[in-house]
């Protein structure tokens, strides 16, 4: 849904992609207005987790202005300046911490002071990337853009499963004046597989069963598979029972693919067999590996964002097939920053000639090329 521009304010409709819009608005400094937020629903207006996101943004910025209509079906957001620093936020349990963490991750390098955020809530959620995945797959991406790791850190203090959550993480991010242009067109071959299985307020055997199943699948492809179990006890186990797994495949070019699966919520009535869970997760990982590309499919948009925000130089990155979310994000990038990516489907010439039977089935690879807009961190102080 393209935006309409009125008085330099971008006007959007609907609550979908709310997070993207707020994020880009904050970075670009352009005001947005979102109308018709669930206007025809039984429960109109912003949901709790969205309001919570606005609160979080308010905490890390200075001078932001948010105006909500009485019914909550339309809002106006005028972004301020990113401050960062010490932030403690208890996230809504309707969504996972990942929902908020991704925003912080995207904004982190552009704050005035290094971000040191403590987020509380649900660490693993079906709709959002888990904190494990962010740690394993997203932080290496950011590292490519800031090059020097001075204090980029994500610590899972406590895990919390839905619906009650009770997890806590600490996220630290250094600030940069500008990001480096990125050329990332090779992703190499998967050389090792690691994973974490956590069991919260359930029998520890569950975790071991998950490990066994997942390992069983992965070992058919690679011998180097290690899966840890994280048996959380007492307060560290959060408030709700649950278990889950996340697997990470590392390639020899420092690309990380990550897949995850978790048990159904306790009150839902359905039960999850640990073996099935492990197997499902392993298959998702294989799927991810099949799609390939230099980044995990869930973080394509982050790469696109940071490429677009680079200096006025050309950045290149090859990714797997674009996810729906990334496509939306690219559209938003164009509307907010006026930056357009050159997207090119790569035809693997080499492979074509050598192994013809493979050609049909390899997933589409897309080369994203863009010129950065020369974004500089305007909030950082120079002495």
């Amino acid at each position: 849904m393209p935006a309409t521009v009125h008085n330099d304010v971008l006007i959007y409709k609907g609550s979908n992609l709310f997070r993207q819009r707020l994020l880009l608005s904050t970075l670009s400094g352009r005001s947005i207005k979102i109308v018709e937020i669930r206007s025809s629903h039984d429960d109109p207006g912003l949901k709790e987790y969205e309001v919570n996101l606005i609160r979080l943004l308010d905490k890390i910025t200075n001078g932001s202005r948010v105006e909500l209509s009485e019914t909550g079906t339309s809002m106006y957001y005028q972004p301020g300046i990113l401050i960062g620093g010490q932030v403690s936020h208890s996230c809504s349990t309707q969504r996972g911490i990942g929902y908020y963490l991704e925003v912080l991750l995207a904004l982190g390098p552009f704050c005035k002071e290094p971000l040191n955020a403590v987020l509380q809530g649900v660490t693993h959620h079906n709709l959002d990337v888990s904190v494990d995945k962010v740690k394993a797959a997203a932080l290496p991406i950011l590292l490519k853009f800031i090059l020097v790791d001075d204090g980029l850190e994500l610590k899972v203090v406590r895990r919390g499963a839905p619906p009650l959550g009770g997890g806590e993480i600490v996220f630290k991010c250094p600030v940069r004046r500008h990001l480096r242009p990125l050329q990332w067109t090779k992703w190499g071959l998967v050389k090792r597989i690691r994973g974490v299985v956590y069991a919260l307020r359930v029998s520890p055997t569950m975790a071991n069963r998950v490990v066994e199943a997942a390992k069983g699948v992965m070992l058919k492809f690679l011998p180097d598979v290690y899966i840890n179990t994280d048996q959380c006890r007492g307060p560290n186990a959060g408030k709700s029972p649950g278990f889950g797994v996340s697997l990470v495949a590392e390639t020899n070019e420092n690309t990380f693919y990550c897949a995850e699966a978790k048990s159904a919520e306790s009150g839902a009535g359905e039960t999850t067999l640990p073996e099935e869970l492990g197997r499902a997760c392993a298959l998702t990982l294989l799927d991810e590996i099949h799609r390939a590309g230099a980044v995990d499919s869930a973080f394509q948009w982050l790469v696109a964002l940071w490429m677009a925000l680079g200096q006025k130089d050309v950045s290149e990155c090859v990714v797997g097939p674009l996810s729906e979310y990334t496509i939306k994000f690219l559209q938003h990038l164009k509307e907010f920053f006026g930056v357009m990516f050159k997207l090119e489907a790569l035809t693997d010439d080499d492979e074509d000639s050598s192994e013809d039977e493979d050609k049909v089935t390899t997933a589409q690879k897309i080369k994203m090329t863009c010129v950065g807009i020369g974004y500089v961190n305007i909030s950082k102080r120079t002495l």
Binding site: P2, R19, V376, S379
Partner: protein, 1139 residues
């Protein structure tokens, strides 16, 4: 002697023929010594003798190298750079215009009558330049300094440097120093040769201290027939044309352009109705700096922030010559383009445009170009242009009237017909606009514009401008007509159809075109289409209404399929409207994944693991095989055995080379390919390691080298990555790259901009990056300029030139304390930097700025100030709020004092205030410290405080606190371009109160105490002497104060007593008595007097007598003493004799 010689015959040297030495010698002679350096032949001689000296030498060499190093920057100069801007700056009447005229003449061999605005000329095969003269206005000087690449600083040698020159240099320093060349003129005014020499020398040294020592200073020794000497100008122009430029950080991050042409395309009718109506203005210029993004906001210096409503590129009006192998420029290639000066084919009148057709070279050039393009078109394989652009090219051909007609000319016609039909359809819809356009076509301008359309290649947009005028609602009619229109046509068709159509077209254009290329192009386009939808390519700006217009058309077309599809799309959109946001690949619906354990599927990804089969170029076995195949050539490596490096490097090189070969290679590399590669690698290796002289100890510069290589790689990538993209798409992705000539339309410009336009003022359009169009609080460090006579006061309006902008604002000065608190300062300190906060546009950190107190050219004021630049500085930080604290001393007095506790009043006014300050430290004047405890009820604002000692009632109690000062939100851009002509340098913004009072002659009432008055000194009045009663009792009566007789009342009493005196009239008897008494008294007084006189005499006599007696007595005594003494001496002498 001879015998001696015979006997003394020495044994000849017999060289060893075997053994260690002989072997050594043999080995040495094997290598050809002739082309070895001394160092290699005799390495021992060059060995280190002294470690200390070697260390020093090494250190010095490293120092020299390090001094030369700069942080490598990515080179952003495009392949076809924009003309360099050469600004001619100097005070009035130093010969700026003459110099420009002469330079133009020397470059393009034509005389230019009037030089107004920027003049672009082609100076060499690779370089163009834009000459611009800077008038004597500080606003222009600032704008020029922001955009000029090279500044010719003119100076009247007979007068010396004037203040403007120093001001300009200072402006340059702040905004990024362009290259500066000084030019001394009027040297013929100095007749005395010796004096001339001295003047040159002093001026040169002064100039060097300002710019850098060794800066180039030219001497134009005189004027002959109104022109400078020809060889001097030639020399100058040579220097200009080989000048190299270093990138400046502001211009490396911002796009900008110096407009060299302006058109007002407002509807004439609406201007007639209301001359003050806001205008639609088109500005033209070369993009410079970095690529200009389509929908970025820009700042027009002197006007304000604007949004570009349309941006498109035009063919270069002053193109560089074709890259043919020639030594010199052809005569016709020496082009000039200066619309404001009326050169280059167009002359501007007040409301019409006249085109000179004969003198223009563009016509011929066009022909040449088209011929070449035709040649190119014939083998499209080489051209990487897409259909759209080629269509554009064909369009030009059509209009240029060039002789040859192409096979696809027919198609063009068809298309044109189609197009006109299309337009007719539209005009049917809007019959009113049709009539309007008719009426418009009648006007003279349109005619002339049509002419331009035909003749001048860069004017091909005129028609579409017309269209804009005519059909305001048809926004999709944009620039290069053919490209855009064909797009429209296509987009109205089915997508598939379009595809087919495209292919057909392409086939028409070239049979040789490789299918693979097109396929790739198409697929890539498809993904972009998937993401960005039906975006328009290149030369048009996107308008939201367009899509709607199209859908309307579709409905008119009556294609049911279309309508339903749009409905479906809408429905889908609606469904997606309120979805939950999720960044996973399979966002909400979990699809059934492929079963990867299935053997067939397993094969698909098996090769994604390190355990799988590698691709040919990475597989170790394959590589080995390849090595074997190329073993035959391996001798090549045999012949460079370096003494130290030899083995190790060879090994490394080998693996490296393997990789490189294999990565580039196809499955079956031919032998010759391998050979080639190896040769190349060998050459590289030789270059690196075979340098015979380099056996010295070298520093490790790998860090710097790596940085440099990285920057180089990036710049190459920047240049190459979009090279073979079609222009439209390229612009969409990259932006309008520097060097393109663009046309930008601004809507709703103030009418004064057009009516008061003066081409002698530079028209600088600077693009604003993200967030720079927002306004916030800017914190910066600032230093008052040493030459500025006044100090600056907080909250006095200040004009700041920052980034592209010039604006007035109210700054607050502060000092950053050690705890990083900003302490408010009322005035800037004299010679140190201080902090400054103001409300203004957000600008990246480290951007330099300068501050002025006035920009008006009032000579009176300038003379008073001398130097106009008040301060310089740079931005530190941006924020949306400020924390500036001012020291505040609250004063109170004791109300009541107990031992160490006291009640203090008058410090606060309310209990609430006290509550805020509970626990704060207070102090008395005498230095007794204390603390505020709690508010009191009774006198509002009083509180209880405890002290370390008992305080006195006379003590004053202080409380030292901080008070937050807010920065006034005032920001006013300097809009000097809107001022009437001739008055443009008289911009005045907000004035200080003092200025206003001075102007209106308002005087403050003088302080009464300072006024002079007559001095009246009252006599001193003492208090009455009051003697206590107790004391009075003891006094004798004489001294006792009598009843009410005080010294004070003595004077006053007398008259009162006199007034109270009753006249006493004596009886005759009493009179007689008193008479007698009087006579008796007189008698007695006389008697006493006489007696006194006699007594005096008597006493005198007596004294005399007594004195005489005394003398007598003394005389006697003396004689007696004499006698005795004589006797005594006699006796003593006798005694002596006896002895």
């Amino acid at each position: 002697m001879a015998d001696d010689a015979v006997f003394d015959k020495k044994k000849a040297h017999r060289a060893k023929l075997a053994g260690r030495k002989a072997e050594k010698k043999k080995k040495k002679n094997q290598v050809d010594q002739s082309n070895l350096s001394a160092r290699q032949r005799n390495p021992k001689a060059f060995a280190i003798q002294s470690a200390v000296r070697a260390e020093r030498q090494f250190r010095r060499r490293e120092d020299v190298i390090a001094k030369k190093q700069h942080i490598p920057q990515v080179d952003k100069t495009p392949l076809e750079p924009p003309p360099i801007i050469v600004a001619v700056v100097g005070p009035p009447r130093v010969g700026k215009t003459t110099l420009i005229n002469n330079l133009i003449k020397s470059f393009i061999k034509t005389n230019v009558t009037s030089t107004n605005g920027p003049i672009t000329i082609v100076t060499s095969k690779k370089r163009r330049m834009t000459l611009i003269e800077c008038n004597n206005d500080i606003n222009s000087m600032i704008d020029i300094a922001k955009c000029a690449d090279l500044v010719l600083l003119l100076c009247d040698a007979s007068f010396g440097f004037e203040m403007e020159i120093f001001e300009f240099l200072n402006i340059c320093q702040v905004h990024g120093m362009p290259k500066i060349m000084g030019v001394l003129t009027h040297l013929d005014m100095i007749k005395n040769a010796k004096k001339l020499k001295m003047t040159k020398k002093t001026l040169k040294h002064r100039f060097w201290t300002e710019v850098y020592s060794g800066a180039k200073l030219f001497y134009l020794s005189g004027i002959i027939h109104g022109e400078y000497l020809r060889n001097e100008i030639k020399n100058l122009s040579r220097f200009i044309s080989v000048m190299k430029f270093r990138p400046l950080s502001w211009r490396l991050t911002h796009a900008y352009l110096l407009a060299d042409r302006l058109e007002d395309i407002t509807n004439q009718e609406s201007i007639r109705k209301d001359p003050k109506t806001s205008r639609d203005v088109v500005l033209y210029g070369y993009v410079r700096g970095v690529p200009l993004m389509k929908d970025s906001a820009v700042h027009i210096a002197g006007v304000g922030d604007m949004k570009i409503s349309e941006l498109s590129y035009l063919p270069d009006p002053c193109p560089l010559p074709n890259s043919e192998k020639k030594r010199h420029l052809m005569e016709r290639e020496r082009q000039i383009y200066a619309p404001f000066s009326g050169v280059g084919g167009i002359v501007y009148d007040k409301d019409a445009v006249y085109i000179e057709l004969k003198g223009s070279h563009s016509h011929k050039i066009e022909d040449e170009e088209t011929n070449e393009k035709k040649a190119l078109l014939k083998n499209v394989v080489e051209t990487k242009e897409t259909l759209d652009e080629q269509m554009q090219d064909t369009g030009f051909k059509l209009f240029s009237g060039g002789a040859v007609i192409y096979p696809d000319m027919l198609k063009d016609d068809e298309y044109l017909n189609h197009n006109t039909n299309n337009e007719k359809n539209k005009s049917l819809d809007e019959s009113t606009s049709e009539t309007e356009s008719d009426s418009d076509n009648d006007s003279g301008i349109d005619q002339s514009e049509k002419d331009t359309d035909v003749k001048l290649p860069w004017n091909n947009n005129f028609e579409s401008e017309d269209d804009d005028n005519d059909e305001d609602m048809d926004t999709d009619e944009k620039l290069p007509k053919n490209a855009s229109k064909i797009d429209d046509v296509h987009s109205s068709d089915d997508d598939e159809e379009e595809e087919d159509f495209n292919i057909k077209w392409k086939e028409k254009l070239s049979e040789k075109a490789t299918m693979a290329y097109f396929e790739r192009q198409r697929t890539s386009r498809n993904i972009m289409k998937l993401v960005y939808g039906e975006f328009e390519i290149g030369n048009k700006t996107k308008e939201p209404e367009e899509s709607e217009g199209q859908s309307d058309e579709e409905e008119i077309g009556g294609l049911f399929k279309k309508v339903t599809s749009t409905q479906k799309k809408k429905h889908k959109e609606k469904e997606q409207l309120d979805l939950d946001e999720c960044s996973f690949f399979y966002s909400l619906d979990k699809p059934k994944l492929r079963d990867w354990l299935n053997e067939a599927n397993k094969q698909l990804i098996a090769n994604s693991f390190v355990t799988g089969k590698r691709s040919a170029d990475e597989d170790a076995a394959e590589l080995l095989k390849l090595d074997d195949a190329s073993d035959g050539d391996d001798e090549m490596y045999g012949d460079f055995e370096d003494l130290e490096t030899g083995e190790k490097h060879e090994g490394e090189q080998k693996t490296e080379e393997n990789k490189e070969i294999s990565s580039k290679r196809k499955a079956e590399p031919t032998k010759s390919e391998i050979l080639n590669k190896k040769l190349k690698l060998k050459a590289k290796f030789d270059a690196e390691y075979d340098n015979p002289d380099d056996h010295r100890i070298k520093g490790d510069h790998s860090y710097y080298e790596n940085l440099k290589a990285e920057a180089l790689k990036q710049s190459e990538l920047n240049k190459s990555v979009f090279e073979n993209l079609d222009d439209g798409l390229r612009i969409e992705v990259e932006g309008f790259r520097p060097g393109l000539y663009v046309r930008m339309l601004f809507k709703n410009m103030p009418s004064e901009f057009v009516t008061n336009f003066d081409s002698s003022y530079p028209l600088l359009i600077g693009a604003l990056n993200m967030a720079e169009q927002n306004i916030g609080f800017v914190s910066c460090k600032v230093k008052k300029h040493r030459w500025y006579k006044k100090i600056l006061k907080t909250n006095d309006p200040l004009i700041i030139s920052l980034g592209w902008r010039r604006f007035q604002t109210l700054p607050i000065y502060s000092k950053i304390e050690d705890d990083l608190k900003c302490r408010y300062l009322k005035y800037t300190p004299q010679h140190v930097t201080c902090n400054m906060h103001f409300y203004g546009p957000i600008t990246p950190q480290n951007t330099g700025f300068l501050a002025l107190q006035t920009v008006s050219n009032n000579s009176n004021e300038i003379n008073k100030l001398g130097f106009r630049i008040a301060a310089t500085g740079s931005v530190n930080e941006i924020n949306k709020s400020t924390q500036i604290m001012k020291k505040l001393k609250l004063v109170g007095t004791p109300l009541k004092i107990y031992k160490k506790t006291a009640f203090i009043k008058d410090m606060f006014t309310s209990t609430l205030e006290v509550a805020k300050f509970e626990g704060a430290r207070v102090k008395t004047v005498s230095g007794i410290r204390g603390q505020i405890k709690k508010a009191l009820n009774k006198p509002e604002g009083a509180f209880r405080a405890t002290f370390e000692d008992k305080i006195l009632m006379s003590d004053i109690v202080f409380c030292r606190t901080w008070f937050k000062v807010d920065v006034t939100k005032f920001y006013a851009p300097v809009v000097n371009l809107l001022l009437p002509v001739g008055n443009k340098n008289a911009w005045e913004g907000m004035k200080t109160k003092g200025q206003l009072k001075r102007e209106r002659n308002i005087m403050n009432d003088a302080n009464k105490d300072s006024m002079y008055t007559e001095i009246v000194r009252e006599p001193k009045v003492f208090k009455p002497l009051v003697i206590p009663k107790e004391l009075q009792k003891g006094l004798p009566y004489k001294l006792k104060p009598k009843v009410k007789t005080t010294t004070l009342t003595k004077n006053n009493r007398k008259p009162s007593i006199l007034a109270n005196k009753v006249a006493v009239i004596k009886s005759p008897h009493e009179q007689k008595i008193s008479n007698v008494m009087k006579m008796l008294k007189t008698n007695f007084e006389r008697k006493v007097k006489v007696q006194k006189a006699t007594m005096k005499e008597r006493i005198k006599k007596h004294k005399k007598q007594q004195e005489a007696e005394e003398w007598q007595k003394i005389k006697r005594q003396k004689e007696l003493k004499k006698k005795i003494c004589r006797q005594l001496s006699k006796m003593s002498s006798k005694k002596q004799k006896q002895m």
